[in-house]
């Protein structure tokens, strides 16, 4: 037992959890926490907006595969975090957010900078804590990390009233904690495993649909083992992009609204889908009622509530997908020998890949999104980390940037948060400082958090902003072209701002390119740079993202644009 303040106990509890870095911004209600940071064994990164703090913690978490931590003060500081917390929640990312709160006696009095942040955050957090006495802090922090990181990960909020931060008490730091109502499944569910095996042995055209759960669980080699045993095509969801090497001969890329045409096509021809850590989101499967009709579906997920939520399935295997896959492969290998690559189903795969490679033509310009992203892939090492902003740039990344090393790609796939990519890339860089990190960006999305350039420069996170700039809210413009007869409304950015000058103003590096050759040079320069680089790449505002499965329609209604 050691006597210390609640704020000091918070910092020590974070250190005990192995936290190395915290992204945050101080204010009135978390001053004691910031005071306790002085001399602590924690690196603090001062953000310019709390939304970015949450995205940085999220980006850090996705690469480090442990909880990222962010700080904000009460009221507006805390509400600014919410977009970032909701983003982490939608993508099952472990984030521990610590907010200051007005003193206990002021709670409920509509005090200055008071927000019921527990109430606000409830629908987008896995859990939340509000210590009422300082001695509760060590245990609550430990529980916050445990809940955030285990099972299906997610954000947890710890909201600490200012007087609880200030209070001094004898602190006990528990080694073991137990949360009675929380028992995440870990092991494979064996009860239905034999039925899954039987379905797969019998199936003529089985397909794997890998989701974000594979990445969260790090089940890359297990997934590959299943695919290579059965010798069947592997599609992913967008969140699962990079769960399977996209240059692998069985890979077909993401399905969905802007999925790869061949992936959208082949999944409709399958007779058995193995969905691994995927949640059948509308963006992936189109219409719930149409998707998977007449096929058997095996669904592996760690979250029991995902079973039957959007799609009724034939076999459900609840558990960590790494463990489930391992068991499935083991049992399957007893029934069948490794299948040959020379099978009609893979021939069909090849046919589709070839057909669409020939059919889908690039947009007729010297610089296009497709060409730019292929160039980036060519120059970026396989272990380079890539994240994205949200909009056309994101979908182009999904279509034209192949992830080679599993787990090196992530994006705001569930919430679709504009402004996510840049701060998240900074978080990723903090987690993997030696690896080049790229934010595949569009101008509209980058606008929202571009003030993180200050963080990238001052805190030395030399990331690359690969800015595909059409001075448009391009995805909205595309929908207005497609569904509103080209009646544009609120989408033009009118050549504002000048991104080279913006980068310059923050002490970062801005490079505007006018040709593919210049782009080549710019990427090489950026990778060697010790400050962040914004590469401003002009994209024609009329360049659309294709293929396109219109909302409310099924994958079979895909428009290829060819």
């Amino acid at each position: 037992m050691v006597e210390m303040t609640g704020a000091k106990a918070l910092i020590q509890a974070l250190e005990k959890e192995g936290t190395e870095i915290v992204f945050g911004l101080p204010g009135g209600a978390n001053l004691p926490i910031y005071d306790a940071l002085v001399g602590a064994n924690l690196r603090h990164v001062l953000v310019r907006h709390e939304q970015s703090a949450a995205h940085m913690a999220d980006g850090y978490a996705r690469i480090k595969r442990k909880a990222g931590v962010c700080f904000a003060t009460s009221g507006p500081g805390a509400t600014n975090l919410i977009t970032g917390i909701a983003t982490a929640y939608a993508d099952s990312s472990p984030v521990v957010a610590v907010t200051g709160q007005v003193p206990l006696a002021m709670i409920g009095k509509d005090a200055f900078q008071e927000t019921d942040i527990i109430g606000v955050a409830n629908p987008c957090t896995k859990y939340s804590f509000q210590p009422r006495v300082a001695t509760e802090i060590p245990e609550m922090v430990k529980k916050a990390f445990y809940i955030s990181e285990s099972g299906r990960p997610g954000p947890v909020l710890v909201d600490i009233p200012k007087d609880v931060q200030q209070a001094t008490a004898d602190m006990k730091f528990p080694d073991l904690i137990k949360v009675r109502g929380y028992n995440p499944v870990v092991d494979a569910d064996l009860s239905d495993m034999s039925r899954a095996v039987a379905l797969l042995v019998k199936a003529e055209r089985p397909i794997i649909m890998a989701g974000g759960g594979v990445i969260l669980s790090g089940a890359f080699s297990e997934l590959q083992a299943l695919a290579e045993l059965l010798m069947i095509p592997v599609v992913t969801t967008f969140k699962g992009k990079g769960a399977f090497p996209e240059n692998h001969p069985l890979a077909m890329g993401p399905i969905g609204m802007h999925g790869h045409a061949e992936a959208n096509k082949i999944i409709l021809e399958a007779d058995c889908i193995v969905a691994v850590g995927a949640r059948f989101s509308d963006r992936s499967v189109g219409r719930f009622d149409e998707f998977g009709k007449g096929m058997s579906i095996i669904h592996m997920d760690i979250d029991p509530a995902e079973i039957g939520k959007n799609k009724s399935v034939d076999v459900a295997l609840v558990g960590d997908v790494k463990s489930s896959l391992r068991t499935l492969v083991k049992l399957l290998a007893k029934k069948i020998a490794k299948r040959s690559a020379d099978n009609p189903w893979l021939k069909r795969r090849k046919e589709l890949v070839q057909y669409y490679a020939e059919t889908l033509k690039d947009y007729p310009r010297e610089i296009t999104a497709r060409k730019s992203l292929k160039k980036l892939r060519e120059l970026l090492p396989a272990n380079g980390i890539v994240t994205t902003e949200v909009g056309q740039c994101q979908m182009w990344a999904s279509l034209h940037f192949d992830v080679i090393s599993p787990g090196t790609f992530f994006s705001s796939t569930g919430l679709g948060t504009m402004g996510f990519g840049f701060p998240a890339s900074i978080g990723a860089k903090a987690a993997a400082p030696k690896v080049p990190v790229v934010d595949i960006a569009g101008d509209g999305s980058f606008n929202m958090t571009e003030n993180s350039l200050a963080v990238s420069v001052l805190d030395k996170f030399p990331v690359i902003v690969f800015l595909m700039n059409n001075y448009m809210l391009g995805m909205v413009a595309q929908w207005q072209r497609t569904f509103y007869n080209r009646r544009y409304s609120g989408v033009h950015q009118h050549s504002c701002p000048d991104y080279v000058k913006i980068a310059d103003a923050y002490g970062a590096q801005g490079i505007r390119v006018g040709s593919m050759q210049e782009l080549d040079k710019a990427i090489k320069t950026a990778m060697k740079s010790d400050v962040a680089t914004v590469i401003d790449i002009p994209i024609d505002p009329d360049e659309d993202v294709y293929p396109f499965v219109a909302p409310g329609t099924g994958l079979k209604d895909m428009i290829t644009g060819a």
């Binding site: 527990i118 109430g119 409830n122 629908p123 896995k126 859990y127 809940i147 949360v179 009675r180 109502g181 929380y182 979250d303 029991p304 509530a305 079973i307 039957g308 939520k309 009724s312 399935v313 034939d314 459900a316």
Partner: protein, 170 residues
């Protein structure tokens, strides 16, 4: 779980043991709202263990929605246990307070008669009103309400269902 044909509109009683601490009811009701679950009644009260409360939830749902409701409830950290009760093997009761306008003596004696038949208690008699307490299954309370409705119900308050499984179950 994965049954194709689901009957819609069946009545279910769901019972949940939850942590007895502030904010738990909020988390549960917020979940129902966010996921669009239609709840008929919800009751919360203390149990034999002082750190646990029991919630009894009744809902008209199809099987698929019920399955989701149970799974989403289980997912809440503060929810320790969730069960769908088999109404055949469950004792369940609701309490209703019904205040009726009753001025003339015939009406008054009729209401008192009905209340006796329904094993209700007369809790209050004023110059113009009679308040009756009825305990029973929701059906029984509905039946009494329908019976006395034409006298004019001034106020009505129902508690929602409270339930326990029979015998040694749970």
């Amino acid at each position: 779980m994965a049954t194709a044909a689901t009957q819609s509109g069946s009545w279910y009683i769901v019972t949940a043991l939850v942590e007895n601490k502030p904010g738990v009811l909020f988390r549960v009701t917020n979940l129902f709202r966010a996921r669009n679950f239609n709840i008929e009644s919800i009751t919360v009260g203390s149990t034999e263990q002082k750190d646990l409360s029991r919630m009894t939830i009744t809902t008209n749902s199809d099987e698929k929605t019920l399955d989701q409701l149970v799974k989403q409830l289980r997912k809440l950290i503060d929810v320790v246990e969730v069960k769908v009760l088999d109404t055949e093997k469950t004792v369940y009761r609701e309490l209703a307070l019904i205040k009726m306008t009753a001025v003339d003596p015939t009406t008054r004696s009729e209401i008192i008669n009905y209340a006796t038949i329904f094993r209700g208690n007369i809790l209050d008699i004023g110059k113009e009103t009679i308040t009756v307490e009825i305990t029973g299954t929701p059906d029984k309370i509905d039946a009494f309400k329908n019976l006395v409705e034409h006298y004019g119900i001034a106020q009505l308050s129902r508690t929602g269902v409270s339930a326990l499984p029979r015998g040694v179950e749970l």
